[in-house]
């Protein structure tokens, strides 16, 4: 019982993620700045932003649904924190696991998007509403290739549990390499999930101000931003478990954890590079791209893994 509470509140739950997300945001912003030949923010900038927002007055639009409006950031935050509990980060085993937790994690990671949609919709502002519709439309485009790629990896391991998957790949070193195509596709889909350029359509600043976040301010916005950062970290953690499952047999637990951090920051670095490389696509172009290229390629990965499963020694 005590261990469970510790996992939820301290590690790998709330406190760990909270701090980690600030670090992740800093790495992302600093790297982006360096890519753009700027100095970038000092190390405490994400924390300073958080404190500044948290100390600001909350302003709720007159026509907004107050309950939903206030609950949305909490929903988004809790869902992403809950997801990390099933992802193995300090070794083969996650804090909790059961057969089928992959599906749970994927759906827990969908909840923030749905929450953003609700928040935007009930803000009753045109920009928020358009942003809400856009985020939902986009959800249907990137979710399919993302799920297919994660499932392809699970198919090869022949399990529905993330912890067992890690175990499988650990005992079959090199097998993770077969998922490299899936990894690439999943990374691109992740940009859509995290609403980053070129898929930052739901919060496209120059078009619809800030999309679903337009009406948010103060503490609520601080929570929303944190939940987005935590989503980044959790998404990257999921990828380390699904697509980069190696090195779990290192002798020292600290070494394993360090390796995990390296993996997560590498994924964040790639995401940052991608987001500084492109112009934002239009919604129709994004959907076209996802269905025309990403989804079929993800299917190729699934079929390939089904065949590989038959050929490769288990």
């Amino acid at each position: 019982m005590l261990k469970a509470i510790f996992s939820i509140l301290v590690f790998p739950g709330f406190l760990f993620l909270f701090i980690f997300s600030f670090v992740a945001e800093y790495v992302d912003r600093k790297l982006c700045a360096r890519f753009q030949n700027r100095i970038g923010p000092p190390w405490f900038q994400p924390l300073a932003d958080f404190i500044k927002l948290a100390s600001k007055e909350e302003i709720i639009p007159l026509e907004a649904d107050v309950t939903v409006f206030k609950l949305v950031p909490v929903f988004a935050l809790t869902a992403s924190i809950a997801a990390i509990l099933y992802i193995p980060i300090g070794g083969e085993r996650a804090a909790f696991s059961f057969n089928g937790d992959i599906i749970v994690v994927l759906y827990l990671l969908t909840i923030p998007t749905i929450a953003y949609f609700l928040g935007g919709w009930y803000s009753r502002s045109v920009y928020s509403m358009i942003g809400a519709v856009r985020s939902l439309t986009q959800l249907f485009a990137y979710e399919v290739p993302l799920f297919l790629c994660v499932l392809a990896s699970a198919l090869l391991a022949d399990t529905w549990s993330l912890s067992e998957m890690a175990n499988f790949y650990n005992h079959h070193p090199g097998y993770w390499f077969f998922n490299i195509l899936g990894f690439a596709i999943a990374l691109i889909s992740l940009l859509g999930k995290l609403e980053k350029v070129p898929f930052d359509i739901p919060e496209a600043e120059t078009e619809i101000v800030a999309g679903v976040f337009t009406e948010y301010g103060g503490r609520l916005l601080a929570l929303l931003r944190t939940s987005l950062n935590i989503e980044t970290v959790v998404g990257a953690s999921l990828f380390t478990a699904v697509f980069l499952p190696f090195g779990f047999n290192l002798h020292h637990p600290a070494a394993i954890f360090l390796l995990y951090l390296v993996k997560v920051f590498s994924i964040i670095a790639v995401v940052t590079l991608l987001r500084s490389l492109f112009a934002r696509l239009r919604l129709d172009q994004m959907i076209n791209f996802c269905w025309k290229y990403l989804a079929p390629l993800a299917l190729v990965q699934v079929v390939a893994n089904l065949i590989l499963k038959g050929i490769l020694p288990r």
Binding site: R34, F35, Q36, N37, R38, I39, L273, L277, F278
Partner: protein
């Protein structure tokens, strides 16, 4: 023709380059010689013709007579647009432009600067 991620090379190179930005106000880049910033007044040369007052597009300068052939100048930095027309208009070159440009102040009243008739030193007007 179409290549996604055309800028990749440039971005990676930038990682190892010195940033183009500087950490203001710890570092300052300074301004080119001849930059038009704050005005400087030389009371010894002023003959009180007030041509500068007539030509100033924003009425930022006032020349006052304080004694026999003695003049002081009051410049409202909030109004001054640093065009330096007064410098051109002055027949005796009593006005000069300096490259000092960090003139912001938290108090609007402190933006009124008086150049004394004796020394030409500037003091913020007390009101």
């Amino acid at each position: 023709m179409s290549k996604p991620g055309k800028m990749t090379g440039q971005l990676i190179k930038s990682l190892f380059k010195k940033p183009a930005t500087i950490n203001y106000p710890a570092q300052r880049s300074g301004m080119a010689e001849g930059f038009r910033g704050k005005l400087k007044f030389n009371p010894k040369l002023c003959i009180g013709c007030k041509l500068c007052m007539r030509d100033c597009p924003s009425n930022a300068i006032v020349i006052r007579k304080v004694g026999e052939k003695e003049f002081e100048a009051e410049i409202d930095i909030a109004k001054c647009i640093s065009c330096a027309q007064c410098v051109d208009s002055c027949p005796k070159k009593a006005l000069e432009i300096t490259p000092e440009f960090e003139l912001a102040n938290l108090d609007r009243m402190k933006l009124k600067v008086v150049f004394s008739a004796d020394t030409g030193d500037d003091t913020q007007e007390k009101t």
